[in-house]
Symmetry: C2
Subunit: 195 residues, 2 copies
């Protein structure tokens, strides 16, 4: 039992490194980059608060589990900003290797369980995964609207790009959230183009 607990604690200490992985998105006040650990916490709160935007087949408890573990692989693979340029198949390989190592720190039963939660999120095919992914795509534009453009400005993103690269994924799991974000994004770009 002590050996098991030592493995569990070793995993939790390794997970601490997610607090040092920075994302392209800033805090709402724009003062600094958001890290992937606090982002993951924020998304679990999004899931609790926006559960009424989920379809009837979504299991919110499962969604929250996915959001807790969804970015752990970034400890090895880093965060890939959605508007950056990267080789998706290379990223996938890095993330699979990261999942092998990181979930492999756990006792087998626990490691297999959390790996399956992460794989479900990544595959993005179940209703719960699609809702979790929608929240993961919905939060950055909400933060950007608060921080006067945030990563849109940094990456010189167009309104059309947002609709294609982010809007489609939000709409797939939470159409009401995309309807909400889209009008506000349009207003932000309209104001900017006038300014």
């Amino acid at each position: 039992m002590t050996r098991r607990l030592e493995q569990q604690i070793a995993f939790l200490n390794e997970a601490d490194k997610l607090k040092s992985i920075n994302r392209a998105t800033t805090l709402c006040d724009g003062t600094r980059a958001e890290n992937s650990a606090e982002h993951s916490w924020h998304l679990t709160l999004y899931a609790l608060v926006l559960a009424d935007q989920a379809g009837p087949d979504v299991d919110i408890t499962r969604v929250i589990k996915m959001l807790i573990v969804h970015d752990l692989v970034e400890i090895d693979a880093g965060d890939n900003p959605i508007y950056g340029t990267f080789d998706q198949s290379a990223v996938d390989k890095q993330e699979q290797a990261a999942a092998d190592r990181i979930f492999g720190l756990l006792p087998n039963d626990l490691g297999d369980d959390l790996r399956a939660v992460w794989e479900e999120f990544e595959a993005n095919t179940t209703p719960s995964a699609r809702f979790a992914k929608s929240l993961d795509r919905f939060q950055p534009p909400i933060q950007n609207l608060m921080s006067n453009g945030g990563s849109w400005v940094e990456y010189n993103v167009t309104e059309d790009q947002i609709a294609r690269q982010v809007g489609s994924k939000i709409a797939a799991g939470a159409p009401g959230l995309w309807a909400f974000a889209r009008t506000r994004i349009a207003a932000w770009f309209a104001a900017r183009n006038q300014g």
Copy 2:
């Protein structure tokens, strides 16, 4: 429906401020103070990974909900380091006022629900609340052991103080975790006293 969603998003944007509330504990690598948002995320992962340390009456889904919202009041009331000196009744008043304001941003049904989750955590009487509180008390010593003493050094804390102020709370909800931590804390203090 739009008004409801606007309230939900206003609450989520307000919650972003928890990422700027620093705690006495540092990251495992000691490079900076941990903030309360990433701490909250880490605790939800502790709950997933250490669920086998919970008693039979503990509802892990409820534990995770408590851990997601447990520190939100710090946005107004700040974090009170466990080894610092403060007036507990004044803190309780500040935190109640903070809960009124912050959960009050939500539509009533949602605000009442999350407020009840937070009150359950604070009251620390149900098996789920006691387990959640144990994790909240267990994580800082685990981080301190990684960061060469962390807040114990800063606050000049004794082994006996840890047992009284932290150990008793960990043991109340997760005796196996306190047994694990106690021996490692004893070894750390023994090595330090020799050094």
